[in-house]
Amino acid sequence: MRTLWPIAFITFKEGVRNRAIYGISIFALLLLGANLLISNMFMQEVGKVAVDMALSTVSFAGLLLVLFVGINLMAKDLDKRTIYMVLSRPISRPQYIVGKFFGMVVLLLVTLLFLSTFAIISIQLVKMSAPTYFARFSWSLVFLSLFFATIGLVLLTAQSFLFSSFTSTSFITLVLTVVSYIIGQSLSDVKTLIENSQIVGIKISPVTVKVIQVAYYVFPNLSLFDIKTQAAHGLSLSVSYIFWIVLYGFIYTCLAIAFAALVFRKKEFP
């Protein structure tokens, strides 16, 4: 454990130095400012729109962070050959992967905490300007939604680490992670769509249905972590749902990192 922290710390420091993180943050802050303008265009459910905007902004910024900062952090050591220096020390390859992962997770948590604070401020500002439209609003659901989004992003980070353990360039890792995100977000919708294809009037071959059903268990189901609708409308959420989701996120993340460590052990460096 003691060997992990220096790597995690260096990774975090490297990430903070990355300019992209500031660009993403400024972009997110602009969107949160726009929240005040956009939510006031609605007649009834101003609160719902404000929560939608704020939560979506944080999720989207987090996604950009994982894709453009996280993957870079992993690739840099390989591109700049600094990995030889790190691995010449008494650190095993799995330790290196886990340490890097922890560093990235800390970076993600700090950034998301910062953005969430501003998201909450933007919701609060809209709430103060139109308090009557926040009848069913609940802060705890907003916090829970932000927490779930964080778990989902940590999972995606683990997934990107797994990809970078066997690909040779960071671009391929990026493409695979984006694909994995798209599949993860839409898989359960696609599954519903193809299982009820007659509603929208499309014909789907039984082979496709089977492929989707298998993919459903292989790829992470990221849509489980999306409770923005529940948060926006103040709908109740059962404790057992929260429990199983958190457990699912934890298990899948560990699985991906364990796989990454396994593959990375045998990786040949250029």
Partner: protein, 301 residues
Amino acid sequence: MQRLSLIVLILALASAQVFVLGRATEEKNLLPLYQGDDAVMPSPVLKVAVFEFDGLASDFMFLKALVFMGSTLERADLPTLVRTPFKREKKSISIIEEWEWKWLYGILDASTGLDPYFLDPYYVANANLTWGGGLIRETNLLLEKGSRYRNWDWQLPFYVGFNNFFFLHDNIKASEYLMEASRRPGGNPGFASLASKLAYEEHKTEISILLLEEITKTTDDEALKKMYLIRLGALKSILTVEKSVAAYKKRFGKTPRTVEELLQRHVLKELPIDPYGGKYYIDPQGTVRTTSEARLMPGTH
């Protein structure tokens, strides 16, 4: 020297840009309006396409509908913008084409498909698609969906009840939904007794007024409120005429053939004004009608 000429060039290009943009926008407005394209992606497909941002997508779909409704207000002021090759002479006040109503329904349906708990699209659908577009059954389908999801909200079943009663003359379904509305939190318990009265045909106008007053009370939007108040005024005028027809019948033992008879025999002091510019008349069955938009009138089939 070089610096000065660059600055002059930039200033010239900037002003040219403003001028050209103006002309280009004008030209774009002169393009024929695209016609009849009322297709909207079905919401199950959209749901897949927008990843985790379906709430936000639903908001923007709804904004699109709002922008469209706003642009139709402009049409009345700018008749030249409605291109002649596609302009159809229509009697009604609205200059929204039939396919545009269908498109509006499609986009509101998609918006609520992405987020079925979102109240605003239901609200706008109920206010516009029914009175203006005549898409009563479609609107009710939408509202019934909303009523299923928003099971704490009395307004949506109330609207379904009203539409069934007022437009579709389905009193059984109307009373079912009014009962449902009365049971939900915030719903007026008086709806229940109103629901039981629906069976009596002769109180149609009065019940319509009561229900419409309830809708007006819960409307915050000024433009919508104004529209509802005009409709209420029309209904109240009809009620006045209907009441004097009943009084005439009682006094003279027969139905008046024209509204002028009511005035001549001093049953009615003066004829109320139809806010839609029509004239009241009595049809051979003895029902009071107006020459303005017929679909505003309860009891016309």
